[in-house]
Symmetry: C2
Subunit: 419 residues, 2 copies
């Protein structure tokens, strides 16, 4: 373990901070909206392709012998011993995260984990370490689900959690299918590739303020709250907004609005999270009572029972109001990710990386690590976020905390694969 040079001591040194900043600046302009400063890095689009080219070039420059696409849009750079007859099943250590963003999102959610993994490998190389096991750095595709509606699209395909034929037919808002965006049907499950991997560690910017409250630059995740997405289809009757008597209306925007407020209240009462932050209206004209309103419920809770009760309460409130409004509501589950508990051995190893111990926290966000956790020992590290804001241009982390994250990741990598 590189404890002396990589993790111990109060702060990363100025060279490490400068090195983080230098690599970070290389990708900062890619896909950034000049007006808001937010990122438009949707899966399988030009900005992500540019990030992937940068990723491959950087990894190769740091000694990666192979940059392997998995046929699903995920990309793995391999270092250390080459796969071959000598490689044992489950021998490889995988680090990484994703490169895509939510619409007008921050720059840290995803790319920080990829950049930190590249820098962790680089730090070990510079320290003269070699790898006794194969080491991969992965850039997962479309983790946010902002383009095709399915979060963790790349890791779900890789692990077989999503059927490639079904995925191929997913469409973005412009009507383009995933197959068209990818240039063919995705490869789907890759048990051959998964079998080579023994452990996965994802570093991620924290998306809350727990580390701020704890005064710690880096934390380790205990697990992920169960969470899912439900589509809410409200149907009424299109009509003239000027002439239709209020009593004669069947206005689905009323049912939608009531449901938005009910979801918020039900979540607060349960210590859970519920959001209806996406909506589509037909015909969406100022002088028309809408025919249809579609909303999406994002719901998360500490356990499955609470989550189920929350969604059921929202459904019941929506149906009750629909009866009053003369509308209907249909609730369709689009995705559900059960609770994830990360690997106890990895959590313990990560906690030991700092003399004072590294704090352990749960998270309510889905991550590719949550998908991989069903298949292999998995852990996550979090880097402090001063505002706690994420999925927004206001998302941030200091260069010092990011460099501290790299130190922790490098130490864990050294622990797992160094020699």
């Amino acid at each position: 373990m590189l404890s002396d040079s990589v993790v111990e001591g109060p702060l990363p040194n100025s060279r490490e901070v400068a090195e983080f900043r230098r690599l970070w600046d290389e990708i900062a302009p890619i896909g950034r909206d000049p007006g808001t400063g937010g990122y438009l890095r949707y899966g399988y689009t030009e900005p992500v392709r540019r990030l992937e080219e940068w990723f491959a070039a950087t990894a190769t420059g740091d000694g990666a012998h192979t940059v392997e696409p998995d046929g699903n849009g995920n990309l793995i750079a391999w270092y250390g011993p080459r796969p071959g007859p000598a490689e044992r099943a489950g021998d490889a250590v995988l680090l990484g995260s994703h490169l895509d963003s939510v619409p007008y999102g921050g720059g840290y959610d995803g790319p920080l984990g990829v950049v930190s993994a590249l820098l962790a490998v680089r730090a070990l190389r510079r320290a003269g370490r070699t790898f006794r096991r194969p080491v991969g750095v992965v850039a997962f595709a479309e983790e946010e689900g902002s383009r095709f509606g399915v979060p963790c699209l790349g890791s779900r395909l890789l692990t077989g959690a999503l059927d490639p034929q079904q995925a191929a037919a997913l469409t973005d808002r412009a009507g383009m299918t995933l197959a068209e965006a990818l240039g063919g049907t995705p490869a789907g499950a890759r048990p051959d590739l998964l079998a080579r991997i023994g452990v996965f560690v994802e570093l991620h910017v924290e998306q809350g303020r727990a580390l701020v409250d704890l005064g710690a630059p880096v934390g380790v995740a205990s697990g992920i709250w169960p969470h899912g997405r439900w589509r809410l289809d409200f149907t009424g009757e299109a009509n003239h907004a000027g002439t239709t008597r209020m009593a004669d209306r069947r206005d689905p925007i009323l049912t939608y609005a009531f449901t938005v407020l009910a979801a918020n209240k039900e979540a607060r009462q349960r210590g859970a999270h519920a959001t209806i932050g996406r909506v589509e209206v037909e015909p969406n004209a100022t002088n028309a009572v809408p025919a249809r309103v579609r909303g999406w419920l994002d719901a998360r809770a500490a356990d499955v029972e609470t989550l189920d009760a929350l969604v059921e309460a929202v459904r019941a409130k929506a149906a009750e109001r629909a009866a009053r409004d003369g509308t209907t509501v249909a609730v369709t589950r689009e995705s559900l990710t059960p609770s994830v508990t990360f690997d106890g051995g990895l959590i313990a190893a990560a906690r030991r990386l700092h003399a004072d111990g590294v704090p352990v926290l749960p998270t309510a966000a889905g991550h590719d690590a949550g998908i991989l956790a069903a298949h292999l020992p998995t852990a996550m590290l979090f880097v402090r976020n001063p505002t706690g804001v994420s999925h927004s241009p206001a998302e941030s982390a200091t260069d010092e905390d990011c460099a501290a994250g790299v130190r922790h990741l490098a130490a864990l990598l050294d622990d797992l694969a160094g020699r």
Copy 2:
């Protein structure tokens, strides 16, 4: 007056009904969405251009000597005495309506008035009448405001109610300006053209159920409720929908939803109409607390005092809730049309068209007739709508009622201009 052949008698004859259907069928496919059956006839687009070509050809075939564009997108077909030194100012009789639709709207709102005007002229010609005054049939542009956001765009430009330079810079949702759509800056006010017109009559499908309740196929309008559009800009803070504690959020969709329900309640309490049937959300992603929500309030009431009180109450409720949500709301008036009272002489003349009297009703919808009423004697006829539904593919009128509308319009035209 053509009372014997055109209006008296219980029903239009089968030839008149068939003639209406024949002309109606010519335009029925133009701009119709095959999926919903609704119309996508936005101002200054290809479907409207096709309707205008059909309009010009039909009018010319029925003896129009001139089809005159006014430089604002409005089109007038002229019959009878040609303008010239002999024409007295304010001599012409103008009939007509608009050709554009709301998104996925019905086919009757607008085109029924144009088709009925064409058929009224044709009926008089066939009856051997000639015109002692110039007679025009007008097709107004972009009455619904569905493309550039300003209702009655064509008639506002013609009458000088809208500055042509300001109008030129209006943009549609794709970012195209009106000047680009029109091929140049609109001509704006045409006092020369207005001075030639002595009276305007617009026939329109009813957008409510008053004539159903009265058992009458045709009615005459007393006036138009004051009405307007207000833009509501709700601003919060974009954040991760999964990880942000409910207490840490500043979610503008909550303020929006509360305002939707408040507007409905405030309107009901005042016997007024309020609708927030159009919304835009940023970033509009399932897993993001929105940064911004924009809604549009359509409000209408029997008098200006009630309308002002309604909008003020909605504004106050929105601001109160914004303070609770940690968001802000800004209310911007986009348009306001004061009360319109139609011409007493014309209303009396229209009432006398049927032996039992033609019922008189107010309307809460804006119309080009409401814009022209500020400049010249104006009236409106309504044709019964069995469901009362408008701005929807379910909007309808029977062929018999439409042919009855043509009879009434023809009789009024004969009264005003026949010889």
